[in-house]
Subunit: 546 residues, 2 copies
């Protein structure tokens, strides 16, 4: 049976666009003699809709779209993701479903059993788990339809399994010849091996081939990476669709046999993938919001340099206009490197000194600050003056401000709320400082775009004379490792110290993370590239003693 | 059996404090000859701990606390809320439990069955539902122990029941003589009748009396109101504990009979309760964070007037210092009313004109803004200049900035990000503008604290000459109703129009709500007093077409 895998980029709630994409793909698949076409999880409404799922009109639109799509399913069957209504009077009002469309109508509805409710996923907030499982038959072939987490019944880091009843255990008794999984899996650096293993393990456990179709594209903070795939019944990979772009491929299910041809999955080039993920994240944030233009403050530092290079790839030089906002503490090399970088990228820039505004703030506040020593306050005023300038450009000309804070800074609160922490989208908010350096070198891989000195000089916020990041923070190599274990591996202070890190340093860093929760609470959405990004996937009480 | 109801105010993660409060209450209850003392849901760690529950050391601390508390339970039994570990190798690692402590040790553990996962509640994120139910026996009396939602199997607005298996249906077969419910129910205006009904309905359905102990106190955005209660077996209210404060009361379970004495629940004075809730919310936010001092920008408008009056109640005049930040567009009456208000409250204030900084921004930006007409940009620069001034005071002297935006403004995006939307805590962020006026009149109920003209003059942001809120927004009476139906009742545009509102106005308002999601994403925690506040209980994708 010839099957089309339709890996598409949806806009949440844009039913017209999503339905159009789906029906176009169906038409193309019919022309290519496919008997079945498969779309990703919640494809009619786009993933992740969050609380839009609680609005009745939103669900009606989903079901209208499904009915429209069904009318296109003559001579071809389709599996399409959509919420569906729970007909039972108890439990959550919705299921997360796969609609099996055939002969111009809805043939059957298959509901998700295992509802992911951790990190950025909130499925129990909206959905009731499936209470019945039924394989479908198409042209004599029996197919087990599963949704996302349904086949992700994997061992957790703590040695537990999240679910006691994986639906495949029941579905396999109906002797399916193929597992279909419709999914919406966000990009996480370095995890493709794990993902492929999950699929392979299902194939090995149940002895039948598997096809998984994943969503692609950025939606606010989440970047879906695509890489839909087909696994032969011997557990080898028959096909993998493109990463970070729409792709439609055809697979003959009869070819997914033990002696089938297979491809090898290349080892991930982590930095290259992070680069491409962030470019897609920026691009889709803008185009799906209906914005085209971006701005940021170019300081001569590495964070703004990498951010502008990524933004230029995503939006084009002509859509970016930046400000250089030097103060009396800014180095000459910083300004000249910023100019060089803007020139290298062919991006319009203006230089506006913040001294006049800064001095005006100081004079205005002189009375109430009388007798007080200079401190962080004056540094913050500079950062906030820059924030106001960038927002003014944004307001006047419609450029969205890109936030340039990296994950290491954001973690320890090394940044000024409403100052350098302002912006519509935090491009590097999930990228550790050491990875920002790697990104810079990657961006420069074939020519010098970011001035070498920007990469090699010691990082500084340049908010007071001769300031260096290393004055108040440990080396980023150390900091980033400690942060990784604390934030992503959920290790305790004691466990991290046992790994060989300096106890005082670990205590200080963890303390800094804790006391800056309130800052991160008020920042822009962060493009997520790790298993634990700041934002909606990390929910901590601001008022707590821990 | 004499039972103590211990309604206490916990700090999340402050195990020392929480354990101390609990053991002190046990000692007091023993002195008062109680045989059983009951504490609220997750009392050892405080509610709501959010992702702290995913940290192993946090769970260890909970269990250590339980063991410590158990050693105090000689001659008295206790029911204490705490997470407990799921011994099964599948499912979430934790239960939300009630520990029954007796004879100096843990006698039994009772797990929550119905896990609330909607609005601000995320219980499925952390907990596995109970898989066994067992009543306990104490001094010959059988008691059914339930936790929060377990007895809230109520009909939803959409006619559905959220749960198919309320645990009391099983527990009642064990012929308990009393239902105990340990809870952590946040304050929501106007809902006390509904809450009491839920308890009464359980009593009527199962024919046995009920005691419920609720947490009290503010934790970040959530204000737990207390009002723990005991219901007689005939469904009348035997006792209700104080609202918004710690309270320990004693009830004899033998008195909770059909012919028992009962009290009547007074009709809520909604505005008085909102006032007290917000005062508690401010007070606990500060004291639990270890801060004492607050600042804000006093404009002569009603929002900042009400906010400062609430803050003064919560923190005392001596802990508040405010700035009056007039511009060329500020009215003279605004400044004089602000001064009058600060004097009435005996609060230190300084007047700093923002003209100099504003002009400095304009000169600095003159080149890049050449030929552009003045617009919102210049208004935003004024608001952001004020934000920088307030944050500077905060940074220099340690005053937390209170945000003064009301819910109506926040809903339609009528506010400047990083300007008047700055601050550590949004005091009025869940209070509609019409309610802000009611609060002002309530604050003035016995003497004029807020100048009458502040209340009676037409609201204006004073960011351009002769600006009025009503220039760009419908009357607040209309606006607030439309917002209420849209935000809180989840009505569609069509449904709201059918109620008799102007279709164009409804469309405009809903559009404004949608296009300002990105602003609310970056604002301070909002003290929650309604069933749908902005913040973690309302999760919408920023990138969406809806």
């Amino acid at each position: 049976m010839r099957i089309a895998l339709a890996q598409l980029n949806y806009i949440v709630g844009d039913f017209e666009l999503n339905t159009h994409k789906i029906t176009e793909a169906i038409a193309q698949a019919k022309q290519n003699d496919a008997e079945l076409i498969i779309f990703s999880e919640l494809s009619v409404c786009g993933n992740m809709p969050h609380d839009l799922l609680t609005r009745p009109y939103f669900i009606n639109k989903c079901l209208e779209s499904i009915n429209t799509i069904a009318t296109h399913c003559n001579g071809i069957a389709a599996i399409v993701g959509s919420p569906s209504c729970n007909p039972n009077p108890t439990g959550k009002a919705l299921y997360n479903s796969a609609f099996f469309l055939k002969n111009g109508k809805i043939d059957s509805i298959h509901n998700k059993s295992l509802l992911a409710t951790y990190d950025i996923l909130n499925e129990h907030r909206y959905f009731e788990p499936s209470d019945s499982l039924q394989a479908v038959t198409l042209n004599g072939k029996t197919i087990a339809i599963t949704i996302g987490e349904d086949i992700w019944d994997t061992l957790q880091a703590d040695g537990r399994k999240l679910y006691s009843k994986p639906p495949m255990q029941e579905l396999v008794t109906q002797t399916p010849e193929l597992i279909v999984n419709i999914a919406a899996i966000p990009f996480v650096q370095g995890k493709i091996d794990q993902r492929v293993s999950v699929y392979k393990n299902n194939v090995k456990q149940y002895g039948i081939p598997l096809i998984s179709v994943n969503q692609v594209g950025g939606n606010t903070n989440i970047i879906f990476d695509g890489r839909s795939l087909a696994i032969n019944s011997n557990g080898t990979v028959a096909k993998m669709l493109n990463i970070f772009e729409e792709d439609i491929c055809y697979v003959d299910s009869n070819d997914l046999e033990a002696n089938a041809t297979s491809i090898s999955i290349e080892k991930e080039d982590t930095i290259a993938l992070i680069h491409d993920a962030l470019v897609l994240g920026i691009k889709d944030y803008f185009c799906k919001m209906g914005f085209t233009k971006a701005t940021l403050g170019l300081s001569g530092g590495i964070d703004s340099a990498v951010t502008i290079a990524l933004a230029q790839k995503a939006l084009g030089s002509e859509n970016i206009r930046v400000l250089l906002l030097p103060s009396q503490y800014s180095s000459e090399h910083g300004v000249s490197e910023a100019v060089e970088l803007a020139d290298n990228l062919n991006i319009q820039y203006d230089i506006i000194s913040i001294n006049s505004v800064f001095n005006s703030f100081r004079s205005s506040l002189a009375n109430i600050f009388e007798g007080q020593p200079e401190n962080l306050t004056e540094e913050n005023i500079q950062a906030r003056t820059r924030g106001v300038m960038l927002m003014a450009l944004s307001n006047k000309f419609g450029h969205l401000v890109l936030n340039t804070s990296n994950k290491s800074e954001a973690a320890v609160g090394y940044g000024t709320l409403y100052g350098d922490m302002c912006g519509a989208l935090a491009v590097l908010g999930d990228v550790y400082k050491t990875q920002v350096f790697e990104l810079a070198r990657y961006i420069n891989r074939s020519e010098e775009i970011i001035p070498t000195n920007t990469i090699t000089k010691p990082p500084s916020a340049e908010l007071r004379p001769d300031q260096k990041d290393s004055d108040s923070l440990p080396d980023y190599e150390i900091l980033d490792q400690i942060l990784y274990y604390y934030l992503e591996e959920n290790k305790s202070k004691e466990e991290i110290v046992k790994m060989g890190f300096n106890a005082q340093q670990v205590s200080k860093i963890i303390r800094l993370v804790k006391i800056s929760e309130h800052k991160r609470y008020q920042t822009a959405p962060v493009l997520r590239i790790s298993s634990k990004a700041f934002g909606i996937g990390r929910l901590l009480p601001l008022v707590a003693k821990t």
